[in-house]
């Protein structure tokens, strides 16, 4: 099985970091994977996106043009990528910032008010982790098992104090039901 | 029988290709004498430029590297960073050091690379046949300034010692000349000091040697030396422009 994930949003929303968490989770599960960021001036305030492919076989092209899973962190990202999602795929919509509904009926859609949930936790910058949690809950590519191990790889020792809040944010998303 | 005069050990037996009356021969000798005096021939690596001294690698008996035009300070930086215990010098002309290699010169100086730079300023491109150099004097006639260097068109000469002295980096900057015995003796002292600075870890030392080019200046060797005294030295005053070697030693 190969799952192509596209995470898209504003620069600063932690799109690349969210991709890294998923990548390490895949690595710890013994899967093949690739992580590819958009790069350049976009990093600084424009749109940012990140392609993550998780597979049982070696990954071919690391570029995700037809995602199986789309995490849309803002409206421009949903506008841009909604039509690209494979039929039967998943769209996770950050519903605090995106007010409109997904137009398509051939995909599974989950509305997650991640920014609000993160704010309620006192960690407004962790909406990305809430979405990661929801993705793990809804997508068969990855499991919740040993999540801490993967997170330890990504949250550096320097920021060890942020580990618990990141874990909490992921679990908040994982357990969120609309 | 006592030997009272001989060729420095640090020069090979190769016959120099320089023109009659050219002062490169003197400056080669001063560099070689400094290497001999300090007993460093076995650990010295020289970097030759592009210009009249391009084949200096045949004349110095130490290991030698031939650099691209202007890049000698960068090449020397690589060598010195690789072999910090060795002694590394560059031997460059004015076109090489002050024109095409200006960036390499300034940055090696500002990094205070622990190397020795011998800068031969004869105010002209010699090897290519006498074109205007960055150090050609205002009004100086060359192949590419046939009506004399017009500063309104070609700008002013570059004064390397003065320019580099504005940097915090370099350890030692001195301008000398080789147009008479007194100046040659002084140049010998300065060049030796520049090598000693490196051995003592004091950093970037550059000796600018005001030199002559009878062939391309269109003068007899004697007249050329006179021109150095009357025209070059007034524009490029001799002396020490920066000396941090004492403070570094503290």
């Amino acid at each position: 099985m190969t799952t192509q994930i596209l995470i898209a949003g504003f620069g600063g929303q932690g799109v690349l970091f969210a991709g890294k968490v998923l990548s390490y989770k895949a690595l710890m599960e013994g899967k093949e994977l690739s992580w590819l960021p958009s790069y350049g001036p976009e990093m600084r305030g424009g749109t940012a996106n990140c392609s993550v492919i998780v597979s049982d076989d070696p990954v071919g092209s690391p570029i995700v043009s037809k995602p199986d899973v789309l995490i849309a962190m803002n409206l421009p990202s949903l506008d841009k990528y909604e039509d690209a999602v494979n039929p039967g795929g998943i769209i996770l919509v950050e519903s605090t910032l995106i007010e409109r509904k997904v137009k398509r009926s051939d995909v599974n859609v989950f509305y997650v008010p991640a920014t609000r949930l993160a704010n309620e936790m006192g960690a407004p910058t962790l909406a990305n982790m809430v979405m990661v949690g929801k993705l793990i809950a809804e997508c068969d590519a990855l499991t919740h098992d040993n999540l801490e191990d993967a997170l330890h790889k990504v949250v550096s020792a320097k920021h060890a104090d942020l580990f618990e809040i990141n874990l909490k944010a992921i679990n908040t998303g994982y357990n969120y039901k609309a | 029988m006592a030997v009272v005069f001989q060729k420095p050990k640090s020069l090979t037996d190769a016959e120099l290709h320089y023109c009659p009356g050219c002062t490169h021969g003197i400056i080669h000798r001063l560099v070689a004498e400094a290497i001999d005096t300090l007993g460093i021939e076995g650990k010295t690596i020289g970097v030759a430029p592009v210009g009249c001294a391009v084949m200096a690698y045949n004349y110095f008996a130490c290991d030698m590297v031939e650099a691209a035009h202007g890049r000698a300070p960068a090449v020397a930086t690589g060598i010195k960073r690789s072999l910090p215990e060795n002694v590394v010098f560059t031997y460059q002309g004015d076109g090489d050091l002050a024109s095409i290699g200006m960036a390499e010169t300034v940055h090696a100086a500002t990094r205070n690379e622990n190397i020795t730079v011998i800068f031969v300023n004869n105010a002209i491109y010699g090897m290519t046949g006498g074109q205007m150099a960055p150090t050609s004097l205002p009004g100086q006639v060359t192949q590419t300034s046939p009506y004399g260097r017009d500063v309104k068109v070609a700008g002013y000469p570059v004064k390397i010692c003065e320019l580099l002295a504005g940097l915090d980096g370099p350890a030692y900057l001195e301008r000398v000349a080789v147009n008479n015995v007194k100046n040659v003796k002084n140049a010998k002292r300065a060049i030796e000091k520049a090598f000693r600075n490196q051995i003592e870890g004091k950093g970037f030392s550059l000796i600018e040697v005001v030199s002559s080019c009878p062939t391309n200046w269109g003068m007899t060797p004697e007249k050329a030396l006179q021109w150095v005294e009357e025209k070059m030295i007034p524009y490029y005053p001799l002396g020490v422009y920066k000396d941090k070697t004492e403070e570094v030693a503290k």
Binding site: Y24 | C62, D63, R81, L83
Partner: protein
């Protein structure tokens, strides 16, 4: 095998270089290879190595020249516009028969171009780049794992043949992360009696030089160098064959284009079209023999490139006009999609599939 870690391609090159004994790095910032320099800046001071941000690409390659002359492993990295600036130094290094590693994480051009991935420096990398008759050994990774593995190999080949090596990657491979098993520490110690290390009064002076004013001497230098190039062509051409056994349509692609093409091969096979892929791992020497052999069996070739069609010339030379060769490409930082490759193959296959 070593435990796999997640790394960016640019970082994998840096770490692999260190493990191959490289302790000298000189560079100048440019997107999209900057992570490589940043990694070196972090690591080198801790392992008694040298990281120096040079004043320009030109200075950096000349610092490489200096270190290489002393016989030590040394590298620089840049991206397309910066590699153009280095060409002078590269020609001198080649002309002085010095080994080193130059990494080009390509971006779109010409001129300042863009910062997105490209393969449009193929000619520059394989046909010379600077002035004079010379070649680089050019290796083209297609994964983060190969970014590491081919870095180690590049140092070994460069030392062995006294020919500078280039790792030709692109922005995608430089920026992407994949699991990588880093190569073991290895230093392939080739004797370098030519190095300038100080005579110690024990030998005649060594000279690192590319100037030969006597034409007969310069000719002999060139001929000697080309004898080494011939040995490299005979022994060091590397490639991967993917589903080529019964292939009727042969895609030729390297680097990121090969990864896209692999997806296309799998998809085409599902539709009953017998496609295969030859992926050059060295583009100089170009794997001519395997292409020539394929020309006896396949119906057509498709050259998939992120350029206006540069490698396609080598494909045509290698297959000697025996079969049609079609270009499938995107440029300017765009990357062909598997669908584009599939459509190209289908179009050639026409009713024959």
């Amino acid at each position: 095998m070593a435990e796999k870690v997640l790394m960016k391609g640019n970082e994998a090159i840096a770490e692999a270089a260190i493990r191959a004994g490289c302790r000298h790095y000189f560079g100048y910032p440019i997107t999209p290879q900057t992570e490589l320099a940043a990694y070196m800046a972090k690591r080198m001071p801790k392992i008694n190595g040298v990281f120096l941000q040079a004043e320009s690409e030109i200075a950096a390659i000349n610092m490489v020249y200096g270190v290489s002359g002393t016989g030590k492993r040394v590298m620089t990295s840049s991206s397309s516009p910066g590699i153009s600036l280095k060409q002078e130094g590269i020609s001198y290094i080649a002309g002085s028969d010095l080994p080193c590693l130059i990494v080009n994480v390509q971006r779109g051009g010409p001129g300042l171009g863009g910062i997105q991935p490209s393969q449009s420096d193929y000619f520059q990398a394989t046909k010379g780049g600077g002035h004079g008759d010379y070649h680089l050994i050019v290796l083209t990774p297609d994964s983060v794992q190969e970014m590491a593995d081919l870095t180690a190999l590049a140092f070994d080949l460069s030392d062995k043949y006294r020919v500078p090596a280039m790792l030709l990657a692109d922005g995608t491979l430089g920026q992407m992360m994949e699991p990588v098993a880093l190569p073991e520490e290895h230093v392939n110690r080739v004797e370098k009696p030519w190095a300038v290390t100080g005579t110690e009064g024990k030998r005649k002076h060594n000279i690192i030089n590319s100037l030969y004013l006597v034409p007969e001497q310069l000719e002999e230098k060139n001929l000697e160098r080309y004898r080494r190039y011939k040995a490299i062509e005979e022994n060091e051409a590397r490639f991967e064959s993917y589903m080529m056994d019964d292939a009727e349509y042969c895609i030729v692609a390297f680097g990121i284009a090969a990864r896209v093409s692999k997806n296309a091969v799998v998809a085409l096979r599902k539709e009953g079209i017998k496609a295969g892929l030859i992926r050059p791992i060295t583009i100089w020497p170009f794997p001519k023999k395997v292409i020539a052999e394929a020309a006896e069996k396949v119906k057509a070739f498709v050259s998939v490139e992120l350029s206006m069609g540069q490698m396609i010339e080598d494909v045509k030379l290698a297959e000697d006009c025996k079969k049609p060769v079609v270009l499938c490409n995107r440029v300017g930082g765009m990357i062909p999609t598997p669908d584009q490759v599939i459509e190209t193959v289908k179009k050639i296959a026409g009713g024959n599939a």
